[in-house]
Amino acid sequence: MTGKFHVAFSIALGVLCNIALCQESHCHLKIDGTIRDLENNLPVSYVNISIEEVSRIVSSDSSGRYHFDNLCPGNYTLHYQRIGFVTGTLSITLNEDQTSDIEILFDPGLFKSVDIVAYKYEERTATIESSLIGKDLAATQGVSLGEGLKKITGITSLNTGSGISKPVIHGLHSNRILILNNGVRQEGQQWGSEHAPEIDPFIAGKLTVIKGASTVRYGADAIAGVILVEPKGFPKNPGITSEVNAVGMSNGLQGMVSAVAEGTSQKISGLSGRVQGTLKRSGNVSSPRYYLKNTGSEECNYSFSAAYSEKRIGIEIFYSQFNTRIGIFSASHIGNLTDLQRALTAEVPLEQAGFSYTIDKPYQMIEHELFKTEVNFHARENGRFSLVYARQYNLRNEYDKHKALNDSIASLNLPELHLEITTHTIDLTWEQKNRVPFQSQLGVTGMKQGNTYEGRFFIPNFLNEGIGAFGISKWQKDKLQVEAGARYELRHLQIYRYKQNALLMPEHIYNNLSGSVGATYKLNENLALTANAASAWRPPQASELYSNGLHHGAAAVEIGDEDLLPEKAWCFIGSLNYQGNQNSLEVSPYFNYIRDFINLTPQLPPTLTIRGAFPTFYYKQVNASFKGIDVSFSLSIFEYLQIKTRTSILRAVNETTHEYLIQMPADKYETTLEHKWKDRKHIRETFLSATLLYTNKQWRVPADSDFASPPQAYTLLSVNVSTQLHIGKQVIELGMTISNLLNTTYRDYMNRFRYYTDDMGRNISIRIKIPMVLYLPKTNESEHQKNQP
């Protein structure tokens, strides 16, 4: 295993060095300088300096220095920004190496809440993370959060048909990863493999995945990683702007429109607001050969937020609501194993349909509501307190295919599965300001969660309470940054359940100390090495403790175990990251060992029901190891042609039985050829790319634990075009993606509907984005000028 990594490493490095040597000779100019605080002339670190024309970004180091090299002669616009400082712009005409020192103005009034969230995250050190932003994020518009995140190397998805997609990080999903929506832990019924995250991806201005255990900073459960869904910051200048996004898709005749309006008040300094909404509708999607009956969906989401900040205090409120109704492919709802066997051997699905927008039974109806309020207090000399309270309400109704035979019951039209979960979280964090080599963050968190069910029993009613305290300290000297942290967390789970009409109230208490240590060493401006070791834990979920029944989607009886212990994980992850002017390489090997990994294990005898015998699975604890590597690199072949590749390889082993673990993503290799056209006056940022994705067959599965053997390997071709039209002051962004261009028939191992149907066929999606200025007050030139040094 390590041998293979070694070879891949050496090859990649070799290729990179060759490319670096071949770069054009006249593009070797430098811009550097030092950034200082205008008030006290001290150097300021962590200022992000970006060059608009070449889309490059660097941060100033501990002595305030920044540095760009390998630049061609020309005109450049430098933007510099750091939270708590006034943002500015600098124009440079570059003919020879140039030193430009920048003075930056401290302004606590700019501590807008959303920015502060960003500020907090930018402080992360020694984590291995990737983001989707800008053009790459735009290219995912129209697909769900889980599908969009697959653009990040190492991220796959667990699908239930085409409509339900859960992100998978390094083979782990559901309760083993955390999603932070706007800084709040997303709490729904995420334990279920057919329960997708209840988040409108249009909320996000940036999607970030932190790979590896991150329990210390974000709390229990984050064994495999964390997904951050971060909205854009509020506009800095007074006025009201808006943006309309529309997407149309050929497969499923899907249409969606999302709009946002945001503004900053001129009268009340520091007051900003935003309203956002998304509507989406899809009909039956189709595989290359047939339509999939009852696979339509509809979605209606909206959110609004407001922020106010003055010298020392920032306040933000945020509310969002996510509503969806998703049809479940009719032929996947089976009565018993005989039906499943018939479905497995059928050439085409046993139920056929044409195109329709109608959503029939079976379907899911989900609603998720998030209310968040955040208060920040900025103690100028020392640091900052932040207090975040959030309430989430999640409703999940699942309707079976079959309506009740008894008319009076059928007329109630009640969902067969009805779950409601309400979660309150509160976080108090203290962050020390980072003008010294040591920087620390301390926090306490509290959580209270209530779950109730009606209808069919799947998980019991419960009350889940937790408290935690953590501290993270960072030390930085020259090129080395070291971060270490620890967290203690206590969970109390009170179960309420009936056994033969008698109320039982078992209690579970779990607690754990987790720790992490990581370091980043910047060899030079382009090359950084990062290593991170962390311990993490996850208390067992109510579903793992108390499930006892037939899982209709899985045609299996799942039985929980009250005596399960928490999972304990040790995660080691490293990365070599080279970010050159035109080329980049990231190699990230990882090893994750989980003791008492909770695994559904088949066991005889099968469970006898009135619909026949079903295989029976017990939640059991084993030791498991996950080792793998993510590699991505991009090379400029010619001036406007880039080749990008992404590889992810994972080996997941049940160390107790020395077998492979079930339901792990197969190896994937992806190559993209991207051409960028030269910007013209009216047409800019024009890209054409073709992507070839090869997914291997998952050969590594345990024996006799699945209804069907894993599907064959497949290769998909997709094409993406995007451009920006500049007409006067108006910008219009246009994009088109054709996925599965060749209409390849395939099934994916990580799609639970692979038993019943081929995956989606060709899909042409067209998207348009129109930003608009709705209201612009008469600009106060002097105010504006102040931002320009």
């Binding site: 609501q321 018993n336 005989t338 309400y393 295919k401 008894n406 009640l414 209530g450 029901t609 619909r611």
Partner: protein, 180 residues
Amino acid sequence: MTILTFITGHFLLSCKRDDDKPQKPQLPSNDMEVITTMTLTFTDISGMQPLTTATFRDPDGDGGNPPTEFDTIFLQHNTTYNTSIVLLDETKIPADTISNEVFDESADHLFCFTTSGTDIEIVRTDTDGIYEVGLQSEWAVGLAGNGTVQVTLRHQPGIKDGTCAPGETDVEVSFKTVIQ
């Protein structure tokens, strides 16, 4: 404006809900339909043999506790029986006779019988107007022997064609069968 009203209304409604009170859990709901019991009643056409029954009973539905009753069918060789099927939901008090609903929706349902190792010829004797149903059937028992008879209820809404293939399975019980 309509959208705005909708959104505001929605918001006000949503904020009232607060269902985090699991301290007072309700008893399991009674609004679910569960087929718990199937009883086959055999009547000798000639009136020679006594009436016999065979029952499968799983009072708590799928999973949970195992079935409490799972009879073997005992039949006499060289005898023809009229067989009727009763399905019950015994989670309700009084028990709900699901087979009456099957009868009402007989155009969407079909019972199928599969014998193995036993010499029985089974013919459905009732009809939905076009196709057979199978709540009533005639079992012509031949030679003595041991085997199984599998009784399957297929739900075929709008797709019934007289064969067992379409639709999905509502009930499937494989009775041990002894022909004396």
